[in-house]
């Protein structure tokens, strides 16, 4: 019996056309790449002023871009994995700029670059120490008792814990792509989603202890490699195909390079805080069980009595939606709103559709409760 003919039927002319087009693209891209300078791929360029500092932590106040529409200032809190600059990647893809243009008074806390010397810092230090000090400073500056908090990813966990411990100082709580039920990845069990949850559970607690003993922290490059593992083919093709696709288009290439810059800037996660993050939250799932403690005090989600806006990405492979949505039934407020946005973990902030919805969604929600 004759073997079936090969399904690959590329005519020589077609192959030639593809090759010529690719060669042109590479030539144009190489020329463009040679012209670009590092300052052209600068990120987090929205003007701001440092207003407070303690140890390596700095608090910045953004300069207004429009008339104030929300009186209560908002503090943006990113986590220790990655950096807040993702919220201000570039002028046309910036949650920070969108909020400022909508009249929101914005602050952001930068945790700095923790080194091995910061090994002993705990989540207690970050949440009940530095974050508490930032809130106090802002409240004092504005002569108010309460501020708005906007937490992102691990920073969302920080603000959640803070709000549960100090509800009298929080006017409204906005969470974005925030894990609350760390075992919630099993709800949908989508292929390629929730790998960090699965991977962390596959480790023994002592593996994590020894890792931190060995390195003193959770190295930024280590977490970077875990994230890369989550999108295997994309990681494989990023520099030889994805980059080729955009390299002759200046705007797209700059977008690509800015994202690369953000990805490359991955600070180390202080060791003791990493142990709590991985063992007590990812493994033991203490937050959703109201069993997590900060400075000896129970983080009881029922104490979150202020209005809550919970934003999640429908296609988030790092923080699957169910891990965020679990908060809804646990908080002590009836003013709980969910905002489901299209896109993935980072796409919510930088994707064309989502980032516009995100800015206006947050600003409008805050204005209604101001």
């Amino acid at each position: 019996m004759a073997e079936p003919a090969s399904p690959i039927n590329i005519e020589p002319e077609q192959a030639m056309r593809e090759a010529a087009s690719l060669a042109d693209k590479i030539a144009r891209g190489t020329e463009l790449f040679a012209r670009l300078r590092d300052e052209e791929v600068a990120i987090a360029t929205t003007p701001k002023d440092e207003v407070w500092r303690q140890d390596k932590v700095t608090l910045h106040h953004y300069r207004p871009l429009a008339e104030k529409k929300v009186r209560t200032p908002v503090l943006i809190v990113y986590g220790l994995i990655g950096r807040y600059t993702m919220a201000d990647l570039q002028e046309d893809r910036s949650l920070v700029r969108n909020l400022l243009k909508l009249g929101v008074d914005l602050y952001v806390v930068d945790w700095g670059n923790p080194s091995r010397a910061d090994r002993w810092l705990t989540l207690d230090d970050y949440i009940d120490g530095y974050l508490r000090e930032c809130v106090r400073f802002i409240a004092q500056q504005h002569a108010i008792d309460k501020v708005n908090l906007l937490g992102i990813c691990e920073g969302g966990v920080f603000t959640t814990c803070y709000a549960a411990l100090h509800p009298d100082t929080v006017k409204a709580l906005v969470l974005t792509i925030t894990p609350i039920d760390f075992h919630g990845d099993t709800v949908e069990n989508r292929l390629g989603h929730g790998f960090i949850n699965l991977w962390t559970r596959s480790l023994a607690p002592e593996d994590i202890d020894r890792l931190i003993d060995a390195y003193g922290n959770l190295p930024g490059e280590f977490m970077g490699s875990v994230f890369s593992m989550m999108t295997p083919m994309r990681t494989l093709m990023k520099y030889n195909l994805d980059m080729l696709e955009v390299m002759d288009d200046e705007k797209k290439l700059l977008n690509f390079l800015r994202m690369e810059k953000w990805i490359a800037d991955r600070p180390h996660h202080p060791g003791e805080a990493a142990k709590q993050w991985l063992k007590e939250l990812y493994q033991d799932n203490k937050l959703i069980k109201n069993a997590f403690t900060i400075n000896g005090r129970q983080v009881d989600l029922r104490n979150i009595t202020m209005p809550v806006l919970n934003v999640f990405a429908k296609d988030d492979h790092i923080i699957p939606p169910a891990t965020s949505q679990a908060l809804g039934t646990k908080v002590g407020t009836r003013d709980y709103t969910e905002l489901a946005l299209p896109g993935g973990h980072v796409g919510v902030f930088v994707g064309g559709k989502s980032q516009a919805l995100l800015g206006s969604g947050i600003a409008n929600w805050l204005a209604e409760r101001d």
Binding site: P12, L22, N240
Partner: protein, 285 residues
């Protein structure tokens, strides 16, 4: 597609040769070590069997992977020569080695972090160095085992890719451009990889690599600590102690400042309250 076949074949040979060279080099070094005077390298401290069997399992699997890749290549072969630029790009994407260089990211990162400075050059001076070497071989072994898991995934992906191509051929469907071929491969490979990542085998081998790299790092630190003490430099443990003290002092300072602020605020409140009471008592004031 001939070029693609050559790339696959060459990749396989290079990779297998690299493994073999590493193993041969290690065996040679171990033989040299055994010939040294007693006390510098205790006999039998190194057990190469486990590493050898991991290496052998990988080699066998690699041969099978090559057969699969050649089979796919035969199916895809058209006798029409595409542009070398396209072939090279496609070749890189289909090359099984890429699965180890890009997808074994954590493995690589851990090894780089763990191996750090070239302490291996000093290995025959102290017994602690042998611990480092043993930890290093254990990490190599775990790494090869993990590569074997990855290669199995690649074989599954390649098999699924070939199957899809055959089915298309039977249905007389065609792929008319390299982009279409590539898109099919990416989709097939991505699914295979994501499925593999959820398997116990993958998670176990990841965990073993993590443990082995941590052990290596700790063995190196112990050695570094030993030399630091000999030469009067602060050890990692001593520095960790200092940092711990500084962190605790800062924590206490923050707490004291907060208490002080609260005390001042309370006093101010009381003063205001007292002043208000005084005004009430003296209505004419």
């Amino acid at each position: 597609m001939q070029a693609l076949a050559q790339i696959w074949t060459r990749s396989g040979k290079d990779f297998a040769a690299a493994q073999q060279n590493m193993f041969a080099d290690m065996t040679k070094r171990m033989a040299e070590a055994a010939a040294r005077p007693a006390g510098s390298a205790p006999a039998g401290f190194f057990q190469p069997q486990e590493l050898a069997s991991a290496n052998e399992a990988f080699g066998t699997l690699w041969k099978s992977a090559l057969q699969i890749s050649q089979s796919i290549t035969r199916t895809m072969e058209q006798g029409k020569k595409p542009d070398p630029l396209v072939t090279e790009l496609m070749g890189k994407l289909f090359d099984p080695r890429a699965w180890f260089s890009s997808l074994g990211g954590m493995d690589e990162v851990l090894q780089r972090m763990a191996e750090g400075p070239g302490l291996a050059d000093l290995w025959d001076t102290e017994r602690k160095l042998l611990d480092v070497f043993n930890a290093w071989t254990a990490l190599r072994r775990r790494s090869i085992e993990h590569n074997t898991v990855m290669l199995e995934a690649w074989m599954r992906a390649a098999g699924a890719f070939a199957k899809t191509l055959n089915e298309k051929a039977e249905r007389k469907e065609t792929l008319g451009s390299w982009r279409e071929v590539l898109a099919l491969w990416v989709e097939t490979a991505n699914t295979a990889l994501l499925e593999t990542q959820r398997s116990e085998k993958y998670l176990d081998s990841q965990r073993e690599i993590l443990k082995a790299s941590t052990d290596l790092r700790l063995a190196q630190q112990e050695l570094a600590g030993f030399y630091s003490e000999v030469f009067g430099y602060p050890t990692r443990a001593e520095l960790d102690d200092v940092h711990r003290t500084v962190t605790e002092l800062r924590r206490e300072l923050r707490a004291l400042q907060r208490t002080d602020r609260e005390l001042t605020r309370r006093k101010a409140r009381e003063r205001r309250k007292k002043a208000a009471e005084t005004i009430e008592l003296e209505p004419g004031a």
